[in-house]
Amino acid sequence: MSPERLGQATLAVLRVLADGYTYGFDVIDRTGLPSGTVYPALAALERRGLVRSRWENEQTARHDGRPRRRYYRITPAGRRELATAIAWLGQLGLAGDAEMGTD
């Protein structure tokens, strides 16, 4: 998969996940992107194996009296893809863009 296939928004989402954030709304907050963009991006990343999502154990959540959450993690393939993309953007002098939204 060539780096240019990763759109800027998708790249930003991946980058936030690489920084260790795990929940959809966190990604929304960190990237500043609208939820209508972030969730499709997450779904696309997951389908390409760059991100994996899990649902929290239901009993644990129920025990704490809160709803269970879905959390997203970047996969090793995702990290590789992100590194390639950032390197590629770096060649173009655009690396800053990939840092977008990560403070």
Binding site: F25, S35, Y39, P67, R69, R70
Partner: protein, 882 residues
């Protein structure tokens, strides 16, 4: 309270999410909902810790609204990747089992799409395609108006033109031109007639157009290098010079005088009309620049950037007022009107195109409704299939999607077929188009036309598919299994009735439009033009100014022509006229009886030099006095024959014979010697033209072109050629034009009327046919759905005729409702046709009555078969089916 409010908000947002979740396809719905509610739960908790109540609430809602695009995205994704292939395959397989339905639906839609695409490609070329000049939006036509005389778009005098040019601040530049005639061009191998224009030397610079080869004119007036130059069109370069690159610098004879070609314009350049092949520089002499009486110039201007048409019109209006007060004698009542160049080209045909486009759109709508009706009836028959699908787990959305996919397949097929028909059919249609439709040479299928076709097909898919899809709500399907294939539901009937009523209404409106045009056309053909073209051929003879510079030479030529032609076998009579009816826009002169004071706003009279034989040949009756004879050639006094409308208008009850008149305030005196019948000079639509005739030898040197009219008792075939040969025998260098029967000229003048009449009639008939089919379909469907009920009734003793009456009642109700709506629609749409009508009001009771009668017949046609089916119903068979 705080906790309680939080709970309320939680409940509200949960409710909102549930509603949005309905968009998400079932398999992914619960997970989607869970993720969103959970994230929102945490989000709210976080907000409640920090933000103020209001800020928290707003942030929450802002975040929550994001669920909508996400849900739509999931829906779209599911649709796209999940099942498009499967759905398409299924749709194609399902449709393949119903070739009759597919044929009907695809055929109907393809016809509608083809017709509307053809019309659109014409509308596109004429109205929307950008003009072939840079920044064409800034180009305007400037007219002089004399509203009191009904002149709204008049030409301009030389003096006024230069006054405008000197004192305005709204135009970057102005230029004038003259066009509308043909030049005799000789490139060395015989004379050809080429439509040409005389343009001010700055015209090409003003238009911003450059030559493809060589140069255009130097913009300075009277440039020494442009005294005898000419610029030719790409088309003429190809046809007359075979496209040779060394054409620049070549010398040709134009009207017998040498000229040098200095440039060739690029293909696609046209000015002012599509057919102009040659441009020559036009310089007004000293006298022309000072002339305030002869309105000879057509004016084009380029607006300064930032100036719009009303602004320019205001400023020029002020300038014009000053001029009028300065020169009241010459300019009393003069005003200014400015329209964009585009408007001046297409303004006249816009009405026709709008009407036709409206007509074709209506036809397309009827076609879509018809296919929708087919679809509803068909989906009803497929209820069991659908019920089984639902029982096996298909959601109602899935079912609707399946149906919509089927209509997309049908509409796509129809779009391809219709588009192809349009590509091939448009040139055929244009062959019948009136010749004066501007810019039709540019009609081709471009991307805009393609986009239109795609859009129309998509619309057709939606309109024809949405009703059947809506009909299949899951709750209803639930009943289907229980009900079996028995009665049609009342819901179906509402849908079908609605569709058919709408079809009837649209068809009636279309019929009314076509009916008005029919009446209008009939009125036009019934108009007496004032002459009879029976057994008459005409030939325009165009001598050059070089060979025939003065009236004496011209008269000698035409006398010899007449002499030879009259000696031909089979010639009953022959005559000459300067402006044959229907061929040249008439120009006018004054009509000033001796001793009367000139009135400035007086209506003009057409001066048309003609020979005595002209009146006899054309069947124009002599009412009083006499026609010209050879005695009039030698006498000093000049003679004139006027038409009866001129006599009535200017002389009232006074005996016109012997009255002496002038054509200009300081002009010669003419004695009226005869009165002839009035003639419609411009067209059948226009009133009779006030006309005065002088003998053909009493004319002005520049009016040297004449038309020869010859009446024969031989067959017309070959006769025109024989006469042409005889004319050529007098002088082989004469150019001849428009050779043919006079009746063709009259008939050609109605081309435009026929074009729109035939198209509208075609649309209306097609729409009506579709509507009859639709009516038949819905009645047949209802009858078949109620077979059981009808069978029981007939078993209980109802007479077949009463059952048939039931069917007829239903059809009558539909026809009445649709008809009434259609009449209202027709009345509402009447402004569309108003300007195109002749002798009939836009809301015409007779037309509407005729339309209603046609509708009645159509309704009977559509009802008879279903009614017969009811009559033949065999109760025992039907009931035993159960």
């Amino acid at each position: 309270m705080g906790d309680h409010g939080g709970l309320d908000r939680a409940v509200t947002s949960q409710r909102f999410l549930r509603i949005v979740a309905a968009l998400v396809p079932a398999p992914r719905r619960s997970r989607w909902l869970e993720e969103w509610s959970s994230e929102l739960w945490y989000y709210r908790r976080r907000l409640e810790r920090g933000e103020s109540r209001l800020a928290a609430e707003m942030a929450l809602w802002a975040r929550m609204l994001g669920a909508v695009p996400h849900a739509l995205w999931v829906l779209g994704e599911e649709w796209m990747i999940g099942s498009v292939h499967r759905d398409l395959g299924l749709a194609v397989r399902t449709l393949a089992k119903r070739p009759g339905y597919v044929l009907a639906a695809v055929g109907t839609l393809a016809m509608g799409i083809a017709a509307s695409t053809m019309l659109f490609s014409i509308v596109n070329a004429v109205m929307f395609r950008p003009l072939p000049y840079p920044d064409a939006r800034e180009l305007v036509r400037v007219f002089e108006t004399h509203l009191a005389q009904g002149i709204r778009r008049g030409s301009v005098t030389g003096a006024t033109f230069y006054d405008w040019k000197a004192s305005n601040r709204v135009f970057e530049d102005l230029a004038a031109y003259q066009s509308g005639w043909k030049y005799i061009v000789d490139a060395g191998d015989g004379a050809t007639l080429v439509p040409g224009a005389r343009v001010f030397p700055n015209m090409f610079a003003l238009l911003g157009s450059n030559a493809a080869l060589g140069r255009t004119f130097f913009p300075q007036e009277n440039h020494p290098d442009d005294q005898q130059s000419a610029v030719i069109s790409h088309a003429l370069w190809q046809s007359l010079f075979g496209g040779t690159p060394d054409v620049v610098g070549r010398s040709i004879l134009l009207e017998g005088a040498p000229r040098t070609i200095v440039g060739v314009m690029p293909p696609g350049f046209a000015f002012p009309d599509d057919d102009v092949g040659i441009w020559i520089p036009y310089n007004l002499g000293e006298a022309g620049r000072a002339n305030r009486r002869s309105h000879l110039l057509r004016v084009v201007a380029r607006l300064r950037s930032g100036v719009d048409v009303p602004q320019a019109e205001r400023e020029l209006g002020t300038i014009m007022q000053d001029l009028v007060s300065q020169f009241p004698q010459e300019m009393e009542g003069a005003g200014v009107s400015i329209v964009s160049w585009h408007e001046s080209l297409v303004g006249d045909v816009r009405g026709t195109l709008l009407l036709l486009f409206g007509g074709v759109t209506t036809l397309l709508a009827v076609a879509c409704l018809n296919v929708a009706g087919l679809g509803v009836a068909r989906s009803r028959r497929r209820e069991r299939e659908m019920a089984v699908r639902i029982a096996l787990g298909a959601g109602s959305l899935r079912i609707s999607r399946l149906l919509l996919t089927e209509s997309v397949v049908i509409a796509a097929a129809a779009g391809v077929i219709g588009g192809l028909i349009a590509v091939w059919g448009t040139p055929v249609l244009l062959a019948y188009a009136p010749i004066d439709l501007p810019r039709v040479a540019e009609v081709t299928a471009d991307t805009r036309v393609l986009a239109f076709t795609v859009l129309v097909s998509a619309g057709a898919a939606l309109v024809s598919g949405i009703f059947p899809a809506l009909r299949l709500s899951s709750s209803r399907i639930g009943d289907a299994l229980r009900r079996g294939s028995r009665g049609a539901t009342s819901g179906d009937r509402w849908y079908l009735d609605g569709l058919v009523t709408a079809e009837i209404a649209l068809s009636v409106a279309l019929l009314a439009g076509a009916g008005l045009l029919t009446r209008s056309y009939a009125n036009l053909t019934a108009v007496d033009p004032g002459f009879s073209g029976d057994r008459v051929i005409t030939i325009s003879i165009l001598p050059t100014a070089v060979a025939y510079p003065d009236v004496t030479a011209q008269t000698a030529l035409f006398d010899r022509v007449l002499e030879r032609v009259q000696a031909l076998p089979g010639v009953t009579s022959a005559g000459l006229v300067t402006e044959l009816p229907f061929t040249v826009p008439a120009s006018t002169w004054s009509f000033l009886p001796e001793g009367s004071t000139p009135q400035f706003d007086q209506i003009g009279v057409h001066w048309n030099p003609a020979s005595t034989g002209y009146f006899q040949t054309m069947g124009i009756p002599l009412r009083r006095g006499r026609l010209f004879d050879d005695r009039d050639r030698i006498g000093d006094g000049r003679v004139v024959v006027i038409d009866e409308s001129t006599a009535r208008r200017f002389l009232g009850d006074r005996d016109p014979l012997g009255v002496r008149i002038r054509m200009a305030p300081e002009g010669e005196l003419y004695t009226i010697i005869g009165v002839v019948g009035a003639v419609r000079q411009e067209s059948l639509r226009e009133d009779v033209q006030l006309t005065m005739y002088t003998p053909h030898w009493d004319t002005e040197p520049w009016r040297r072109d004449k038309t020869l009219a010859v009446k024969t008792d031989l067959s017309l075939a070959g006769f025109a050629a024989a006469v042409s040969a005889e004319v050529k025998a007098v002088d082989p260098g004469l150019a001849l034009d428009r050779v043919g029967p006079l009746v063709d000229i009259v008939s050609d003048s109605l081309d435009g009327e026929r074009f729109r009449l035939y198209l509208m009639l075609t649309f209306a008939i097609l729409a009506l046919a579709l509507t009859v089919v639709g009516l038949y379909g819905t009645l047949a469907y209802v009858v078949s759905g109620r077979r059981r009920e009808l069978a029981i009734r007939s078993a209980l003793g109802a007479r077949p005729s009463s059952l048939a009456a039931m069917v007829f009642r239903r059809s009558t109700t539909l026809a009445l409702m649709g008809g009434a709506a259609g009449v209202l629609l027709a009345i509402a749409a009447s402004p569309l046709v108003r300007a195109l009508l002749f002798g009939v009001a836009p809301v015409d009771p007779i037309t509407l009555a005729a339309v209603v009668a046609v509708l009645g017949l159509a309704a009977v046609a559509g009802t008879t078969l279903p009614a017969l089916r009811v009559v033949r119903l065999n109760a025992a068979t039907v009931l035993s089916e159960e």
